[in-house]
């Protein structure tokens, strides 16, 4: 089977997020008040050949931890992508 997977990479809690805070600071000048805790991250989409959804997610998590994220500063969350 072929499973579509998405990986969300965000900075770990406690790690400064310069992109997120710059976006947040600029929002009031555009008239968007009351928007808080903006965090910037990365989205990866790909497909995995696997015999089950769990196996696909396991492969995805392995490659996310090895390459797509830097575990020193980032968390990677894998889920099955919806078409």
């Amino acid at each position: 089977m072929n499973y579509a997977v998405r990986v969300d990479v965000t900075l770990r809690t406690g790690i400064a997020d310069p992109a997120g805070s710059t976006i947040e600071r600029s929002l009031p000048t555009l008239g968007f008040d009351g928007v808080h805790r903006v965090r910037a991250g990365k989205l990866f989409l790909f497909e995995v050949d696997a015999s089950s959804p769990d196996e696909a997610l396991l492969t995805a998590q392995k490659l996310a931890d090895r390459l797509l994220s830097n575990p020193v500063i980032e968390d990677a969350r894998c889920s099955l992508a919806e078409d």
């Binding site: 900075l11 406690g14 790690i15 400064a16 310069p18 992109a19 710059t22 390459l67 797509l68 830097n70 020193v72 500063i73």
Partner: protein
């Protein structure tokens, strides 16, 4: 030390500056492409600045998987002097040869300017010819130079004297003003500033000399300091 490898990744752009700087101090510098699998013929290895593999994904993330990196790990494990400058520092952290990570500068600004650095340790191959407290003016040129690590790692860095250089006026948000660190043994060093661009007072600063002379194992030069 006489023979230094300067590793060239696709996208490196400071390899000639680094080689020229080392040769001006009497070393022989060889540009070694990232596909090389053996560094044992060299007395030292420099990872120069630039944008290895386009800096895609994260700076240093893809360079870490270049064939030369296993040779570099062996070289470093054997105690060989390794210096990562700017992008080279980012590669060393991604490869796990140095702790922590470099993330985007505070304020999301690309910085290209001279900075005053304070020597924090002389236990590393880069700073062994300097004195603790020396102030060196060395240019920086980076977007992701904001040194980050968790509390435990920071404590270890300080306790083991691995913080090598600090910024006097922190330009990028780096934790504890850190500009450069070493591994525990002191033979692997990474720093964001570019000592190879501070080799002559005619060009703004000659303060890189004491660092590269240290890296080459030379006695400190008389520099009027």
């Amino acid at each position: 030390m006489t023979s230094v490898a300067v590793v060239v990744f696709p996208g490196s752009n400071c390899e000639y500056d680094a080689a020229r700087a080392l040769e001006s101090l009497g070393a022989s510098a060889t540009l070694v492409f990232h596909s090389a699998q053996d560094l044992s013929a060299f007395d030292g290895v420099v990872l120069p600045g630039g944008f290895a593999h386009g800096d895609y994904l994260r700076p240093g993330a893809l360079a870490r998987f270049s064939p030369v990196m296993s040779a570099l790990e062996r070289f470093a494990a054997g105690g060989g002097p390794v210096l990562g400058i700017c992008n080279g520092f980012q590669v060393l952290t991604e490869a796990g040869l140095l702790p922590g990570a470099l993330q985007k500068n505070r304020g999301l600004t690309f910085l290209c300017q001279p900075e005053t650095l304070v020597v924090a340790s002389t236990r590393s191959v880069l700073t062994r010819a300097a004195n603790v407290g020396d102030e060196l003016v060395i240019p920086i040129n980076h977007f992701s130079g904001n040194y980050t690590c968790d509390d435990a790692t920071h404590r270890e860095l300080v306790e083991n004297d691995q913080v090598v250089l600090r910024y006097r006026d922190n330009p990028n948000g780096s934790r504890d003003d850190i500009a450069g660190i070493s591994n525990r043994a002191g033979n692997v060093v990474g720093l964001m500033p570019h000592p190879e661009r501070a080799m002559s007072s005619l060009l703004g600063s000659a303060d890189g000399l004491v660092l590269l002379r240290g890296f080459l194992g030379l006695e400190p030069a008389f520099s009027g300091r």
